[in-house]
């Protein structure tokens, strides 16, 4: 691996330290903004624990940054279906996230049957299946099945959206 790539990887993990630190500061500021008069029945108050948590976050952030700069590295998680030999495949991840976001945008307006179909079909496509028609049929079937399953079986009415009155 070239030194540039390793350098970038090291820097990427500094982002984790940055995130921890940012959350720590956020927790601190939020807790600091709470106004509570001292009360005999609750000497700890709502601020103490957030202060401790923010302290822990910031300490972890600093230690992690030091660790990374000294060459420490988090061990990426392996698994049955995971091959860490090749780098993250963003061509799969981004369309996958896209399908997910599309579902969020569509669900209240177009309803679960449509948004769920889009979600499943889009995800299958992003993950590399090329049986467009078979996948589409499975997606519609899954979305319809869960819609009626939740309504009839669990009494949960998922939004019908555009198909209101048809379903």
């Amino acid at each position: 691996m070239s030194s540039l790539a390793t350098g970038l990887k090291g820097r990427a993990e500094l982002g984790v330290a940055l995130l921890l630190g940012a959350v720590g500061v956020l927790v601190f500021l939020d807790a600091n903004g709470l106004v509570t008069p001292y009360s005999q029945s609750d000497p700890v108050g709502p601020k103490t624990v957030p202060f401790i948590v923010s302290g822990l976050l910031i300490i972890c952030a600093i230690l992690l940054a030091i660790n990374v700069l000294r060459g420490g590295k988090g061990e990426a998680e392996g698994g049955e279906d995971v091959d860490l030999a090749h780098p993250a495949d963003w061509k799969t991840i981004l369309p996958l996230a896209g399908a997910f976001i599309l579902n969020i945008l569509l669900i209240d307006w177009a309803g679960w049957v449509i948004s769920g179909t889009v979600l499943f079909w889009g995800s299958v496509l992003a993950l590399g299946s090329r049986h467009y028609i078979r996948d589409g049929l499975i997606s519609v079937a899954l979305a319809l099945l869960t819609f009626y399953g939740f309504y009839l079986g669990l009494g949960i009415a998922l939004p019908a959206g555009l198909l209101e009155g048809i379903l």
């Binding site: 049955e80 279906d81 590399g128 299946s129 090329r130």
Partner: protein
């Protein structure tokens, strides 16, 4: 010129390989062995493992046949991989193994061999397992 054989570690695949070796010897051509997987499942028993490939390698070397073994995993189905290889290498012959399928099985799954037979630009030799 090249002979392309679609190999799978099954009796049909072995039969195809044996036939292809005979053909390659006869015409003294290079043998291109294709064993592909779509790679969309964790397990694919039609994808040959290292020991299998090694024994084929040895078998071909023993018989003095010029050969190339390829195991493409690119998300394409087996028919596409065999046809691609035949096109690229300007093959003189494709050898494939035929599997017995029920009519329903054919209807649902389609057939790799059917696609090769219909779409290939060169002669296709289809063999059955003994």
């Amino acid at each position: 010129m090249t002979i392309v054989v679609g190999y799978v570690p099954t009796p049909e695949g072995e039969a195809a390989l044996t036939q292809a070796i005979a053909e390659a010897k006869k015409s003294n051509e290079t043998l291109l062995v294709i064993n592909s997987s779509k790679g969309d499942a964790l397990v694919d028993n039609r994808y040959a493992q290292e020991p299998d490939i090694q024994s084929i390698e040895e078998r071909l070397a023993d018989q003095g046949i010029q050969h190339i073994i390829k195991q493409p995993v690119r998300g394409h189905d087996a028919a596409a991989e065999v046809l691609d290889a035949a096109d690229e290498n300007d093959a003189s012959l494709i050898v494939i193994g035929l599997r017995r399928r029920s009519p329903v099985g054919k209807l649902i799954m389609g057939s790799v061999s059917q696609r090769v037979l219909l779409e290939a630009d060169c002669p296709v030799l289809a063999v059955k397992a003994e």
